[in-house]
């Protein structure tokens, strides 16, 4: 099929705010986390979704993997409505869309060895017990970890190694699309570079479709071919990554770019930032 692998059509997610009493008497307000977002992701796309807190970028991720349901609009996985898939197929579609989380230590069970964690994931995909061990070693190799990692517990690994295990677990399902929500932002910079290089290699070698959610424009520039800039639940700008970063048209994108630390050359008069902020508000 040549259509988009993932499509969002007019997707809105709103949460009720206020006390129970407010809601009963109709005085509650709604917080719109995602506001009428339409988006198409083609197979093999590596897309960076950038925004600050409250931009709706993580809401978009949890909607796409089916962790929450939209208030309005439709999500299509390979042309099929996600809502129908969730009803009909008892979860078999879940294999096709996998997620890597920000905090690798809370995303892994602290009492399970890495080997057990990966073997259980492989079992979910129906890999027979006899080949699970070989597949586990192969998965670890794919993310740059040696077989000696297999018998370890998560706390015995560094943050970078744990994040690789999280990635191996997601890849164990042979997903069509991988969603990574700030996967490197809690890592030290030297480990961050390792994981970015790894993701970059995997997207090339496996032809993986990647939705990379980040607040870091420079990381997105290194990894992604397309960029989507979000603010307050809406897409404010999108396009080829290098084009958008070289010639941003939306003032918010311009503000984000000017806020990235640039070392000594980035020293600027405080007034410049103050006026940039007020022009967006």
């Amino acid at each position: 099929m040549s259509g988009p692998i993932l499509a969002l059509r007019g997707v809105t997610k709103a949460y009720a705010q206020g006390s129970l009493l407010d809601r009963l008497v109709g005085g509650a307000s709604r917080f719109v986390a995602l506001d009428d977002v339409t988006l198409e992701i083609a197979r093999g796309d590596v897309i960076g979704i950038v925004g600050e807190s409250g931009s709706g970028k993580s809401t978009l991720a949890s909607l796409a993997v089916g962790l929450t349901r939209p208030t309005a609009g439709e999500i299509l996985l390979d042309g099929e409505p996600l809502a129908a898939l969730m009803r009909d197929h008892a979860g078999s579609w879940r294999r096709r869309i996998q997620m890597v989380f920000q905090d690798s230590s809370s995303a892994l069970n602290p009492r399970k060895t890495i080997a057990r964690c990966l073997a259980q994931t492989l079992a979910l995909r129906g890999v027979p017990r006899a080949t699970q061990e070989d597949d586990t070693i192969a998965l670890l190799a794919l993310v740059g970890l040696g077989a000696e990692t297999a018998p370890r517990l998560p706390h015995e690994l560094s943050g970078g190694q744990r994040q690789r295990v999280g990635l191996a677990r997601a890849l164990a399902m042979k997903p069509d699309i991988l969603i990574a929500d700030e996967p490197v932002s809690s890592l030290d910079v030297s480990l961050q570079a390792q994981v970015i290089n790894l993701l970059s290699r995997l997207t090339r070698e496996l032809g993986l479709t990647l939705l990379f959610i980040s607040h870091d424009l420079a990381v997105v520039r290194t990894l992604c071919s397309r960029i989507i800039v979000m603010r307050k639940g809406r897409i404010v700008e999108e396009g080829p990554c290098l084009d958008v970063l070289a010639r941003p048209t939306h003032p918010y994108t311009q503000l984000l770019i000017s806020s990235v630390p640039k070392g000594i050359v980035g020293r600027r008069a405080p007034a410049a930032v103050a006026s940039a902020t007020s022009s967006v508000g």
Binding site: E52, S53, S158, G159, G160, Q161, D188, V189, S190, L191, Q192, A193, Q194, I196, N197, S200, H215, D216, L217, A218, V219, R221, T222, L245, L255, L256, I257, S258, S259, V260, P261, K262, G263, I264, G266, R267, R268, P270, V273, A274, T277
Partner: protein, 320 residues
């Protein structure tokens, strides 16, 4: 040159473990001049935050200072009584932490918390303390401060909370501000504003600042000098320009190269293989030797001394 405002000599900090003391800060030396802004850059476990908590004598129950001297304005802080330290903290040396949420008391109004700091250090009336608190809040860019005194921390955004904490820090006109990753928990646009605010306060109030961060690019925007730490040691110390354009320690150079930038060529980032050393498993020689592409035999055996070379100091057997 006049005496430095803060002088740290051979400072050691360790944690008490089952097998005795495990050292996390392993003998660091550096000083900060009056009005100078110094960045301390390093990854987790480098000892950057722990050494500054030691300066403030704010170590938790498990950590202790195992050696060295900390001299502030001629006074040995490690010999000072706890009562004397309480006078110094907040009045002469103030500290701002990473997470503004957990640094504020959620049950007290912002105004009450700033006023408490003022009254703890200055013999002023409540109305005078209130006036000083409003002045401090306005100074850090919190508009309508007299009305905002009544607000509670949850009513403030993350950036506003960090501004309120900086207001508390400067309310008593300290001579040294220690900011420990003050922007790491904030959005990038807010981060830029807070960095600008600290630069502005330094200029207007003549504050000396120690800015702790993992981000070399961010630090270079406001500091005069950068101290790079790794594995509980100072590995390089030089002017912001020298560190940015002509770093000589392999770790500093790689640390710069592995951060993606908005300019420059694309392609794989320079990666530092392996992970920072773990507490209690420090290699015998240079702590960076196991990950260093330049390392030779001696690097793994012996820690190089921190050698002064013109305006910078460097601890490396094979500086570049």
């Amino acid at each position: 040159m006049s005496a430095p405002l803060l002088k740290i000599e051979e400072l050691h900090v360790g944690f008490r473990g089952a097998d005795g003391i495990v050292e996390a800060v392993r003998g660091i030396d550096f000083s900060v001049a009056s009005g100078e802004v110094v960045g301390i850059v390093g990854e987790s476990g480098s000892g950057k935050s722990l050494s500054m908590l030691a300066v403030m004598r704010l170590l938790g129950a498990t950590a202790r200072i195992t050696g060295g001297r900390v001299v502030f304005d001629g006074e040995d802080l490690l010999a000072a009584s706890e009562a004397r330290m309480r006078e110094i903290r907040g009045r002469d040396i103030a500290m701002v932490f990473q997470d503004p949420q957990s640094s504020l008391n959620p049950a007290l109004s912002i105004g009450r918390q700033v006023i408490d700091v003022v009254r703890a250090h200055r013999p002023v009336s409540t109305s005078e303390a209130r006036r000083l608190a409003i002045q401090a809040l306005e100074r850090v860019g919190i508009g309508e401060a007299s009305r905002r005194l009544e607000a509670y921390p949850h009513e403030f955004s993350g950036g506003m909370r960090q501004r309120a904490l900086i207001a508390m820090a400067i309310a008593c006109r300290p001579r040294l501000l220690i900011a420990d990753e003050p922007t790491t928990a904030l959005d990038v646009t807010v981060q830029a504003q807070i960095v600008d605010l600290i630069a502005e306060l330094r200029r207007d109030l003549g504050l000396a600042v120690i800015f702790i961060s993992h981000n070399l690019q961010l630090v270079a925007e406001i500091v005069d000098r950068v101290v790079v730490m790794y594995g509980g040691k100072v590995v390089e110390d030089g002017s912001a320009a020298d560190i940015e354009h002509a770093a000589r320690h392999p770790y500093t150079r790689l640390l710069k190269a592995c951060v993606p930038s908005l300019q420059g060529p694309l392609g794989p980032l320079a990666a530092i293989e392996g992970a920072p050393p773990r507490l209690g498993r420090m290699p015998p020689g240079c702590p960076f030797a196991p990950r260093c592409p330049q390392a030779v035999g001696v690097c793994g055996r012996e820690m190089p001394a921190l050698v002064t070379d013109a305006a910078r100091r460097i601890a490396c057997w094979r500086p570049q």
